[in-house]
Symmetry: C3
Subunit: 220 residues, 3 copies
Amino acid sequence: MDDVAVRMIEGSFGQILVLTLDIVGTFAFAVSGASAGVKRELDLFGVLLLSFSAATAGGIVRDMLIGAIPPAALSDWRYLATALVAGAMTFWCNPLIDRLRNPVQLFDAAGLALFAVAGAQKALAYGLSPMMAALLGMLTGIGGGIVRDLLLAGVPSVLRSELYAVAALAGAIVVVSADVLQLHAAVAALLGAASCFVLRLIAIRYRIRLPVSKATRKPQ
Amino acid sequence: MDDVAVRMIEGSFGQILVLTLDIVGTFAFAVSGASAGVKRELDLFGVLLLSFSAATAGGIVRDMLIGAIPPAALSDWRYLATALVAGAMTFWCNPLIDRLRNPVQLFDAAGLALFAVAGAQKALAYGLSPMMAALLGMLTGIGGGIVRDLLLAGVPSVLRSELYAVAALAGAIVVVSADVLQLHAAVAALLGAASCFVLRLIAIRYRIRLPVSKATRKPQ
Amino acid sequence: MDDVAVRMIEGSFGQILVLTLDIVGTFAFAVSGASAGVKRELDLFGVLLLSFSAATAGGIVRDMLIGAIPPAALSDWRYLATALVAGAMTFWCNPLIDRLRNPVQLFDAAGLALFAVAGAQKALAYGLSPMMAALLGMLTGIGGGIVRDLLLAGVPSVLRSELYAVAALAGAIVVVSADVLQLHAAVAALLGAASCFVLRLIAIRYRIRLPVSKATRKPQ
């Protein structure tokens, strides 16, 4: 097999990898958005809209920033279908999902990990520098949650949560480093997503937070 | 007349149609944004800014998503002029507009209908698939109201209102279906805008809402 | 020296000018965003994220609207570095910055002036009409503050503040007029930034506001 063919297969493998990460991440964020909407007693369409917005916002912003127009989430029907199925499932089967301790947070963590990885890999594929690819991966990861929280008129949880953006950045940095070390893209994705997801869950479990500025602490 | 000439006239007719729908929709959303601003006691410039944002946000997002850069609302002075005239009128002649039962809602419904139709037609013209054109029409329609409500720090009414996004989607679907059936673009626009506007007004009048998830209802 | 060389030097001078204005503006808005974050007791990463968002939002939106993809704030590491240094400084040296009467407002005014000017000049360089370049300059200036306030779930101060958007528009109009009069770009930038900054500070000092609509005033 010659070089060009190898590169084509790798290229197409890379595309399938980003697509798979994107779709699973879309599902996770859609459930997280829909759960938040059900809690706020939105009607069916409001829930679906929130689930679609949360699920696609990160990827749409990423695609607009790197010039992939129209964004995959709008030109490929599978994103829409995934978000709608996840939203409808959450709407009608909410009791099942509610048995999970904290469904918004759990699915949010999964979406965060998957989008951070997919964002970093797509940015690398579009020729951005490693540092910027890591930053864009983080933005892709946190974008969906920000839009979900803004639409419900709250302060985005990313600004308050335990190692939220930090975990997304960590996952994206793992992907970018693995790319520099020329590891296989699938290995990079697995390592990156696992680091982000585990780091986030540990931070939630043990309430790990970064310090706040001393300026705002009261004098003792 | 040969085929090319016909297509050019149709093309130019299509452009004039989108422009007309856009401008009237801009006027309607500008009045809706300005009315909301006057109610919240913003000063003159705040009212104009809100009226411009509400009037152009949907179209700007649409143009950025389909790659029509710079967006028409920024490159064509008629959008700005329309939004400013509508905003200034609302600011100084508010008592007149206030005689209408609920000016924000009424103009909002008109803007919703016009932008949903214009958005779907522009997306079709840029070669998006029918399903995505309908989705983009809906987004164009609801974008202005979302930005208006977010800037005033509220939950966007689209998430709570009676058949708001549903009406926009219905109007856009009518346009896309008419296009598939090869009806004339002007007929499609008229049918689409009328369906959306009437559906929204009926929903407001009779307080028609979609169901909320059973999960959030209290046990009887 | 022949014409082409002159133009190249001017072109490169123009780029350096926009870059310089952008970087100093980035620093100013980053301090403003970080100060707002420290006040709300965000943790270190939340403060850095808010400082990066406030510092780059205006420029990113400008670049996306004129089609400069990927936006300078993402492709050029100096923006990120500036925002992070400014954010970290604010986080750890907050007492120093707090001695200033109102650091958010002061740095915000500086960022407003610098971005309004940089936005108008970059828009002119991308061939937008003078009127649209002035409008885009204003949007670039006010964008960062809007994103900062939205992320903290407040009504953007631009809608309520003393001559905020007016000052940005004034600065951008000065730049555009100077360009029409063929003044040197550096002179234009200096005049524009000074007008915006001074106008904003005077408006804050003497609480100058534009009128609100009579419709909302209570009857006497």
